[in-house]
Amino acid sequence: MSTTPNRPSPSNWLKWFDPRQREIGTWAFILNRITALGLTLYLFLHLIILSQLAGGEEAYQGFLDLIRNPIFVFGEWLVIIAGLIHGLNGLRIGLTSFGIAIPYQKQFFYILMAIAVAGGLYFAVRMFAV
């Protein structure tokens, strides 16, 4: 890797938040990490909240009524976006790990993210259009 002027280190932490002169691979890395944290949070919320099913019909119906609130729908949309970005970028990581598509992985990344954006728009229309 060539030396870049923007190389963060713990002693120079302000640089961590400097978006300039980052390569596309760094953006892929950052996106992958942020979506990973969001999806992990969602996973455990999802597992915990589904215990309402054990509480029987009334408990589960109460939960279903609660999540009709647009705030929860927006949260679900964020989960879909994160899932698309993480899953599609993960496809690239998985393939390149086995030596596939390495020379054109940047183009591959752009195409995958274009699909993620298109998917995000599709679900935004599906979820918010009344």
């Binding site: 890797m1 691979g25 990490r33 990973a36 944290l37 999806l39 992990t40 996973l43 455990f44 597992l47 589904l50 215990s51 099913l53 054990a54 029987g56 019909e57 589960y60 119906q61 279903l64 899932g83 899953g87 993960g90 496809l91 990581i93 998985g94 390149t96 790990s97 030596g99 390495i102 992985q105």
Partner: protein, 126 residues
């Protein structure tokens, strides 16, 4: 070249790295099924959005098997992934060891709880 592909991190064994990739691929497939099925089946518009529909769905023996497998893949993937984020912080061996124990415990508890929940839902149909 080394920097351009995903390789095991320092402190991450090759097996964990491989497991993360394999579970990632499996999640890609099963999450697709989970998502489409849960949003199209059932008697309510929008998917399995009633207690009876969920219980009925779980009466097909393939479903509890698929969901438990999915749970194991997704919990493993998320905890191995969280661990690799933690490794980026250059943890001391002691901190890493604590995280190893903590994440293993969280993983086991989650899977045991998930199996209990699936079996509870299955039993409501009989």
């Amino acid at each position: 070249m080394l920097e351009t592909v995903s390789t095991p991190k320092k402190g991450e064994t090759t097996w964990l790295w491989l497991l993360k990739i394999i579970t990632g691929a499996l999640i890609f497939i099963i999450l697709g099924i989970h998502f489409v099925v849960n949003h199209t089946l059932g008697t309510v518009e929008g998917g399995l959005l009633s207690y009876q529909d969920v219980v009925a769905y779980y009466q097909n023996p393939i479903i509890p098997i698929m969901e438990i497998a999915f749970l194991i893949f997704v919990v493993s993937h998320s905890l191995i992934g969280l661990r690799s984020i933690f490794l980026d912080l250059n943890p001391s061996p002691r901190a890493l060891s604590t995280v190893n124990w903590l994440f293993s415990a969280v993983g086991i508890v989650s899977v045991v709880y998930g199996i209990w929940l699936v079996m509870t839902i299955v039993s409501r149909g009989s």
